[in-house]
Every structure is written in structure tokens, then in C-alpha cells.
Amino acid sequence: MTVLEQPGSPRHTSGPAVPPPAWRPRVDPAPLLPDTEPYRLLGTDAARRLDPGLLKRLYTELVRGRRYNTQATALTRQGRLAVYPSSTGQEACQVAAALALQEQDWLFPSYRDTLAAVARGLDPVQALTLLRGDWHTGYDPHEHRIAPLCTPLATQLPHAVGLAHAARLKGDDVVALAMVGDGGTSEGDFHEALNFAAVWQAPVVFLVQNNGFAISVPLDKQTAAPSLAHKAVGYGMPGRLVDGNDAPAVHEVLTEAVRRAREGGGPTLVEAVTYRLDAHTNADDATRYRTEAEVETWRAHDPIALMERELTGRGLLTDAFATATRDGAEQLAAALRDRMHTDPPLDPMALFDHVFIRQTGQLRDQAAQLRAELDAEAEADGTTAATPAPAQEARP
């Protein structure tokens, strides 16, 4: 007999207790799991088969990238940049991210990914506006399909998912590649973005640059996971682990993930294991939290050195090519130096543009107040010409 006779309480049912369909995993977890060793090409047999053109292209970009990083860091010392979060040591990730995308795709960089934006074609000076401080985003994101360099960690990831989803709804062939650091993976937005992407099967690729540190906090205080790529299975997307200093490997893994996304296969999480050779930014003192010995281990695994070894082995690093590469990088640096050595034009009245598409009455009043102050200042300085141009209504 049974004891329950309340409404809603079941009687004995006969037959086996069949687990209802919802119980079954809908996807096989096995192919989602990353390998336990980062994927590598350089120094392997597979590398021998890589297209020389691609190798040289990657190398050229790596060298330019390194030079960009050192030049930008120098600009901070000269007071020309407020701050620069260098990606020295991570150039392979930066360059591969840019090259894995097609023209119509979108890149969602973090504050450290200036280089990826430049490698994608962004004007090197516009890329530094944020860090020079004359405005926030220094470029029109639509021009090269590069979202604003993003400072609040991981918040750019849902943007990438939303954009990719919107493009897919519109039937457009667009993939979004979003970049985040190892530290950023701990944020709730990382989780929510990956989950939305997987549920929506949005054409997104998430690239985690695991550079070992979030400012001073090492990876083992950030996660206890086998790898960050292992997080993928919890969302139902493939996770890939790659040597982030091996440019062709990162390029191949990202290209493959982009292709998968483009073909409707949904998102991928890629963890690129790399190292930040410089301090967090020029303002950081890395000796407080890591040893020179550790840094040296990673210098031995420098992405440019790895490429040079490969190119040399294949006889591709000719004097002509090396010289051309170096010259190209120097030209980039020189142009950057020159252009950054003039003060940017500043218009304080621009503060009131673009808050809303049309200035509210309140903002108009405040703009008038600032204008009066500027006029008074100019008068006091005897520089009547300093009166800024009238604040413009934003174009609709």
C-alpha cells in the first residue's frame, strides 16, 4: 500500500523508471575537451609544410608589433602617452587574431590589444588615443570593424556575442573574435557571454591570452582548472589549447575556429598560453611579484625567436627579407614617434557633444558655462584666439 492520498501525489507506477529525454547529454563532451598539451607547429614536422608566404607575413607582423610595443613604451617615458599596457611577448596572439579574420569580421579587443587592432589595419595613432588621453575611443569602430579597446574586464565579450548574433539574424557573413586575459575569465561577464554564445550558436571566437598574470596575481590564484580551455565544455563549445607564442599555431587554431563559426558551427574558446614579458603597464613594478628567472625562461620562448628559428631552418630569413622587415618596423616606429610628438588638438567644448544625439537644454547651459570660463581664461592669458569653436550638435 502507499501512504499518500493527497492530490498530486502519485500512485505506484509499473514498468522501469525510464529517465526522460532531458536527462541525456545532448552533446558528446569528448570532442569539446582541449588537449592537455598546447598545440604547437613551430619546430614540428607539420611546420615544414606551412606556406612560406604565411610564415613571412606573420614574421613581418610580429617584428612590427614588437617595434610598436617598444615605441609606445618609450612614448610613455617621454610623457607622450599616459599609460601603455604592452603586449611584448604576446605578439603572436595579437597578430594571429588580426590575421585570422576576414575584412567583414569584427574584432573585440581589450585594453592590451592595441597591437591586434593595428595589425588589423587601424591607424597606429588613433589606436593610442585612449592611452594618450585626448579622447576615449580614438577611431570609428565601424571603419575597420574593431570595437573600442575595452577596459572593464570581460565586458566586451557579451558585446561580441550580441554583434555576432545580430549579424547571423540578418543573414550576414560576419564572425566576431573577442579577446580577454586570464584574469578576465574570472568575471561573471565571461561566463554569461560564453553561455549566450553557445545557446545561440553565435559565430564568435573567444581568445583568452593566458599570460600568466592579472597584474600581480598569478594564474594559480585565478583558477584551479586543468586549463582555461577546459571551461569550454561547461558551455557546450569546443575548447582549444595552443602555444600562444607559436604564431602559426595560434593562427591555425583561430582560423579554424573562425571558419567553424562562419559555417554555423558555433563558438569556440581558445586559450593561448603566453607570457607578458613587460610589466602590466609602464606604471607597474613587476619585480614585486615575479622573479627575473621566470621572465628569462619565457624570453627563451619568445615568439619572434621561435619564428626566426623556423625561418632560418627553412632558409627563408634572407638578408633582404630581414632588412626589409626591420626597415618596415622602423618606419612604423618613426612615423608613430613623429605623429605622437605633436600635441593633439583639444576642444573642451566637445565634452558636451555625443552625450546624447541632441544636446539637452541642461547640457547646453553647462556648455555655455564652460565656454564663458574658457573665454575668461583666454582673456586673462591675453590669448583671445583660444576661444574654441562652438559646440556642434551631433549629426543625427
Partner: protein
């Protein structure tokens, strides 16, 4: 007001129905309008405001999202970057808090950060306020957070007609709008003709709902009906109260508000939100800045107390009611018997 054409038949509609209609009409007119949120699809929303939209426009245009508010708003930002006009529903006021970073750091600033290149034509619908017997976290009046965030427009309807008009205006706006829906007015009814809705209410305009000469009640959203009731009751005391429905908290309609206060010389701000640091402080301060010499008494405030929102059985003591409003009106120094130091 005269018109030669036969007016469309007006029949009773609830505010919730007017909101649904606004969403429907916006979606029908503009294929870039996408509704998204928790339970907005199949269920039609816990307040049924999105009822029927998924059926009419498909699950891609009105979609149930995973349960994550930052993810909802964050993906909506990306969708807006791609040219869509997302209309996001946050299920309840306090459940918009997880999305606060996306709201303050991205939604409100994206246009500004990008010098106008990336506008955010987003509407964020948030059912807010109390009076429906909700358990904790279901009755917050969170408007103070949004007011204090430059780059957001903040509007809230108090009538069935405005629910339609303001929501249409919000969706049509090229800037983000926090659209606060007074929960306890969802089932309020008015005669309304859905087939010829009033012209879309412009964002940024307050409306005098009841003319009066003795003092002005400045209010919005769920407190409008309470103020109108108080104004009726005040007649017995000999006061003829003007009631202004602010409708748009950002941008703020100083002109309408100040014209009223200058005329009456006295004002009380009424809202459910906590008093300290709430919208009433801003409103009282700006009215005073602009109308000081017209004021016979300080602008007073009738607001929720400075306490976490009470449990359902006690909420009536917290919410501004007719008596509390009249008590406050009585303190507007009608006979110059004001004693200082006894502030609200």
C-alpha cells in the same frame, strides 16, 4: 479640441495592454526592433507585457534569453552596435542590478566614448516600485541609480496613453532609455483607442495633469494617481493643488515644472523611492535654484522612508499616501508658522 473626423472608438485598456501594443507596433514598423529577456517569449513575460510577440514575430524577434541580466544587456549592446534596436526586459527592478556595470560603463557611454560613431538605440524596460505585495527584491524604486548616470534617458509613464506613447518614443530614440514601468499601474485602465493611438509623447516633457493654484505636487509613475487623489481630498481643506506628472526624469522639463511652481509658489515632490539621495532631492534643489524668490516655503518631499523596501504586509506604511501628502502640504507655511529644524 475639435476634430472633423469621427474619433476612433475608445475602450478600456490596461497599461500592460498599451505597452504590449507599443511593442507590437514598433516591431511591425521596424524590423530592427528586437525584444529580449527572461520569459518574454513563450510565456509572454511574467507581467504578460510581451504576450503574443513571439507568436507574431518569431522567436528571433522576441527571444527568451538565458537567465543572466549582464549577459542580456551586454549582448544587447553588441546587437545595437550592429544596427538593431534591442528592447530588453529586466524582470524586476532589483534584478537589473547584475547588469549595472554594462549599463553604467557601456550603455550610457558608448556614444560618448566613440564620438557618436556607436549610438546605443536601446530600451531597457524595468517594472519598478511597490504596492503589489511582492516579496523582497521585487519592489525597489531604483530610479536614483539611473538619474545619476549621464548618458541615460529615464522615463516612466503614469497613464495608459503615455505607456504607449513613451514606449514608442523610447524605442525610436537613438539613445538609450531606461523605461520604468510602474508595476502597480499595469492593471490600471483607461479609455484608449489602440487603433489610433495619440501622437507619440516626446521624451523630456512633463505634463500638468490637474491645474491648481495653491501649490504644486511634482510626481511621476506610480505616485501620480495618489497625488490626484490627494488633490481631490485637498479641496476639502481649501487647497487647490496643481499636479505635474514629470514623465521624463532625464531630460528634465524645467520649463513646465518651474512655470507651475512660480505660479503656485509652493511645491511638494512625491515619489516612492527612498528620500535620501532619491530623485526628490535633485528636483527640489533645481526648482529652488530656479524659483527661489517665488517660493513661499521650501520645497518639501513625500517619499519612501530611508529603509530597505518593507515586506508586503507593511508596505502601505512606507508608500506615500494621501494623508502623508496632505500632512506635508499643510506644512507649506500657509500661515507663516513654519518652524525650522523640523525638516521632512
Amino acid at each position: 479640441m475639435t476634430t472633423t473626423a469621427q474619433p476612433t472608438a475608445r475602450k478600456p485598456a490596461t497599461m500592460a495592454q498599451a505597452l504590449t501594443r507599443a511593442l507590437r507596433d514598433a516591431m511591425a514598423e521596424d524590423p530592427t526592433v528586437h525584444v529580449m529577456g527572461e520569459d518574454v517569449g513563450t510565456l509572454g513575460g511574467v507581467f504578460r507585457v510581451t504576450d503574443g510577440l513571439a507568436a507574431e514575430f518569431g522567436a528571433d524577434r522576441c527571444s527568451d534569453t538565458p537567465l543572466a541580466e549582464a549577459g542580456i544587456l551586454g549582448t544587447a549592446v553588441g546587437m545595437a552596435m550592429y544596427g538593431l534596436r534591442p528592447v530588453v526586459e529586466m524582470q524586476f527592478d532589483a534584478f537589473a542590478y547584475p547588469a549595472f556595470e554594462q549599463l553604467a560603463s557601456h550603455v550610457a557611454r558608448m556614444r560618448n566614448r566613440t564620438r557618436g560613431a556607436v549610438p546605443m538605440p536601446l530600451t531597457i524596460r524595468i517594472p519598478y516600485g511597490g504596492g503589489i505585495g511582492g516579496v523582497e527584491h521585487h519592489s525597489d524604486s531604483s530610479e536614483a541609480y539611473y538619474l545619476a548616470t549621464p548618458g541615460l534617458q529615464v522615463v516612466t509613464p503614469a497613464t495608459v496613453e503615455d505607456a504607449y506613447g513613451l514606449l514608442r518614443a523610447a524605442i525610436a530614440s537613438d539613445d538609450p532609455v531606461v523605461f520604468l514601468e510602474p508595476k502597480r499601474l499595469y492593471w490600471s485602465r483607461a479609455d484608449w483607442s489602440p487603433d489610433a493611438p495619440a501622437p507619440v509623447a516626446p521624451i523630456g516633457r512633463a505634463e500638468v495633469r490637474r491645474p491648481g493654484s495653491s501649490a504644486t505636487l511634482l510626481t511621476y509613475g506610480p505616485s501620480l494617481p495618489v497625488c490626484l487623489e490627494a488633490a481631490e481630498a485637498a479641496r476639502a481643506e481649501g487647497w487647490d493643488l496643481e499636479v505635474v506628472d514629470l514623465r521624463s526624469l532625464v531630460p528634465f522639463d524645467d520649463d513646465t515644472v518651474c512655470a507651475s511652481v512660480r505660479r503656485t509658489g509652493r511645491a511638494v515632490v512625491v515619489h516612492e523611492a527612498n528620500g535620501f539621495g532619491g530623485p526628490g532631492g535633485e528636483i527640489a534643489a533645481r526648482v529652488t535654484e530656479r524659483c527661489f524668490h517665488h517660493l513661499e516655503a521650501p520645497v518639501l518631499r513625500v517619499t519612501g522612508f530611508d529603509i530597505p523596501y518593507p515586506p508586503p504586509m507593511l508596505e502601505r506604511h512606507h508608500l506615500p499616501g494621501v494623508d502623508r501628502i496632505l500632512d506635508t502640504v499643510a506644512r507649506l507655511q500657509w500661515e507663516s508658522r513654519w518652524t525650522e529644524g523640523r525638516g521632512a
